[in-house]
Symmetry: C2
Subunit: 146 residues, 2 copies
């Protein structure tokens, strides 16, 4: 039998305060909502490597059996790695133009890369990074040193 | 030029209170930490479709330019989709055996699937689901209806 809890993430769900508003945000960035999978209550996006879902924060908390808490730092960050510093700048600019909030302008980092952060409409943080030590493969996916 | 902020997630970072302790948790589940990429301060795991990183919650908040807040519901859930109800049960059992906390036992859902949740050591929620409407491809990746 395969490892039961494999090193894999199939789907990320972000809990949001207004599904339509957050859906429009990601659509403004050029993402395509799956019409077949989505409803008024939940939006699904097929990502290059997994599925991102937007769903009511309150309903997600209830579904997970957790008490909802006031939005704050959620203890996680999403990241998108880029092949160059210029591509980092372009992605951050596109996100801010779409209504994202710049958390940290892109800058050289202590670990030898280049990165910045923006927050989506529910303050979910996205890092946009160029990391010369984690090369991207032909499909843009991060490869880690062995 | 490619879409600057593509529908893609390269890396997820979970902010944790004790990197060594949380790393040991995921290792108990059979995940392999990348020795080449990881340090005492941050652990990286090459997932099937992206990279999962574990890093100090406080440092992650600071890096993102956000105020840290007491851990609570973070407004997101990770999910792993499975080909059968039995595989859901097996994954939840493995996670709990490894030290995860069962949030919601697996059960039939209102949307016609089967799912349960566990929390990792920092209460990051993972859903383990069998969704007959989102078939898995040959590599185990979720496919969405068009």
């Amino acid at each position: 039998m395969a490892q039961p809890f494999a090193a894999s993430v199939s789907l990320i769900t972000l809990g949001v305060s207004d599904v339509a508003r957050s859906t429009a945000f990601y659509e403004r960035l050029g993402w395509r909502r799956s019409a077949g999978a989505s409803t008024d209550e939940v939006s699904f996006f097929a990502l290059e490597s997994l599925v991102l879902a937007l769903w009511s924060r309150a309903e997600l908390a209830a579904d997970a059996g957790l008490a909802d808490t006031p939005p704050g730092f959620g203890g996680f960050a999403l990241a998108q790695n880029k092949p160059s510093e210029e591509a980092v700048d372009a992605a951050l600019a596109a996100a801010v133009a779409g209504g994202g909030r710049l958390l940290k302008p892109a800058a050289r980092t202590s670990w030898g890369g280049y990165s910045g952060y923006f927050a989506d409409l529910d303050s979910h943080p996205w890092e946009i990074a160029h990391n010369p030590f984690f090369p991207l493969d032909a499909t843009g996916r991060v490869t880690l040193p062995a």
